[in-house]
Symmetry: C2
Amino acid sequence: MKISKLLKNPSGSKGEPHSNRIVVSSRVRLARNLQRFPFPGWAKKADRQKIIETIRPVVADLPEMENAAINEIMDQFTVVDKQVLVERHLISREHAAKNFGSGVVIDANMNLSLMINEEDHLRMQAIFNGLELESAWKMISKVDNELEETLDFAFSQKLGYLTACPTNVGTGMRASAMLHLPALVLSEQINQIIQAVNKLGLAVRGLYGEGTEASGNLFQISNQTTLGETEAEIIERLRRVINQIIEHEENARATLLEKRALTVNDQVGRSFGILTNAYSMSSKESMNLLSMMRLGVDLGMFDEIVRSIVDELFIASQPAHLQKSISRKLNAEERDLLRGELIRDRLSLLEKPKIRKIQPPESNEEKA
Amino acid sequence: MKISKLLKNPSGSKGEPHSNRIVVSSRVRLARNLQRFPFPGWAKKADRQKIIETIRPVVADLPEMENAAINEIMDQFTVVDKQVLVERHLISREHAAKNFGSGVVIDANMNLSLMINEEDHLRMQAIFNGLELESAWKMISKVDNELEETLDFAFSQKLGYLTACPTNVGTGMRASAMLHLPALVLSEQINQIIQAVNKLGLAVRGLYGEGTEASGNLFQISNQTTLGETEAEIIERLRRVINQIIEHEENARATLLEKRALTVNDQVGRSFGILTNAYSMSSKESMNLLSMMRLGVDLGMFDEIVRSIVDELFIASQPAHLQKSISRKLNAEERDLLRGELIRDRLSLLEKPKIRKIQPPESNEEKA
């Protein structure tokens, strides 16, 4: 069990520091299945056992998995440990519910995570900070090739890779990026953007993927279709759309500063004030307030060093991470208390945000 | 015009410092009318002129009005100046709408305010900090006796003093106290209290009297009836009910500290955080947050010196007071900005609230 090791890396760094202020992380995952075995949802216990016994040693033997951070079967984790992995985006929420016959192998840098007997026999992902879809694709593609030398993946000449759910058939690929879009939310343009992105055949989701709500102004953009395009085309199309969203967010930020600096000063100031003084705080509220602090960093209202503190708190203030930091089991109220304390402590030495200049108002020099 | 003099007394002190943490101020007003003149609402211009010419010199001659702070007819005030007087509770909102033929005389200490041609020919009030109903009654009763030596008030042996509105006939007296009841609001007992008080024949109103909403957890309690009881009985009954409300508020505070110290720490902390960091703030929000700070002082979470800063801000952050502090006419947005700045400035050197001890939670030492 190396969850503790993972917790010692509180910044959640996965590779290089952020290359982009708006794109938090990029991820590519591939779904693969062994030939001649039923999909995990249909497989009997014995089959699932055989599947993991076939895949796990091959995965563990990958050069990328030397000194793997985690190589474990799911029933060896506590519920909290599994949730920590979910909060790090290293396993899916669905995989966290698995026990016997499922497993996960994660590399030392935590860029690479391979889930065995999730919805498919093998779900492998590469995740990087910043806009790094190509890097993620390159890494996971290499792993895929290495595995294929040994493993016999179910593949149809006509359809491509076969998967448990037809929405993954073909490339079996889901490429996604996590975007931080506070200005599009503040200026109420976000729904328009989501609709436009949906029309382009891409999905927009919350922090933890399908079926989760957006909080902290974080949105996951991913491809919907896996059939009829090559992997490179999917990634290229996603990257193009993401670049457009980045442009919209940057325009929205510029407009905010030009026309509504007051709102920016107020929102960033209040968020800082609440984070540094609240005694108890829900996960959702902390995400939303930290998002405003992050916007403040982007807009030069805080020193650049504050970015890493905020990014660290985004992760450290998640429920399972909080629970792991203390030996006693916490209920929701105690967790909110501990979250408040953690955030107050980490931000206690920061200076107040620098105020952004406001355009002078229209002259109205009437006498009172 | 001595509004500027009034503004130099930003603490709004009217007499002694607060004798009571829960009762902010006590007030007694009497309604009187001259015989043989129509009530102001029916009086023609010439009559109103005669009324004020009859009353004003007598009022100005009162020993209490030596060095009066204000002795003015209403059309000599700007709209903002009138509003300043309303915010100090020195004239009614109705009187602020008056112009020709109406006036006001206010003593040097601003305990005593006499409005001429309000709803009645003469409305006179005495206002004191703290629970000082008897002091207020004593002062206004003395003034009433002094005026009666010269002025001929409309009086019926059967009904008592005659007034424009039948609800004031009899004593013509309205005695009231402004109570700060944050714990009854936080613990959601306030509506119950209001209903009980109403059943006892007393009225509960917001900060500026009839028809105004409560903000800043401030509630005005006053007698409803002026007929069938002596002034002393009215005041005694009001004082008894107020003492009961004080007891309820104190119990609610004790229960909050015992059972919900977390909520207290959180609410006081957040209020402090927002007040010291918000860039823009509405009047209503500032009242509510300052109310939490005041509760914090009462509960020992801030030094006692913070009380006067908070009480000063309660007044200085009102719209007209803000407008008077600057030469240029402000719109609502600019006022909110100025309010934010004023509050941030005044609170900038304060230390964070001291946290109140929380009762240890029930033991639940299950393993994570």
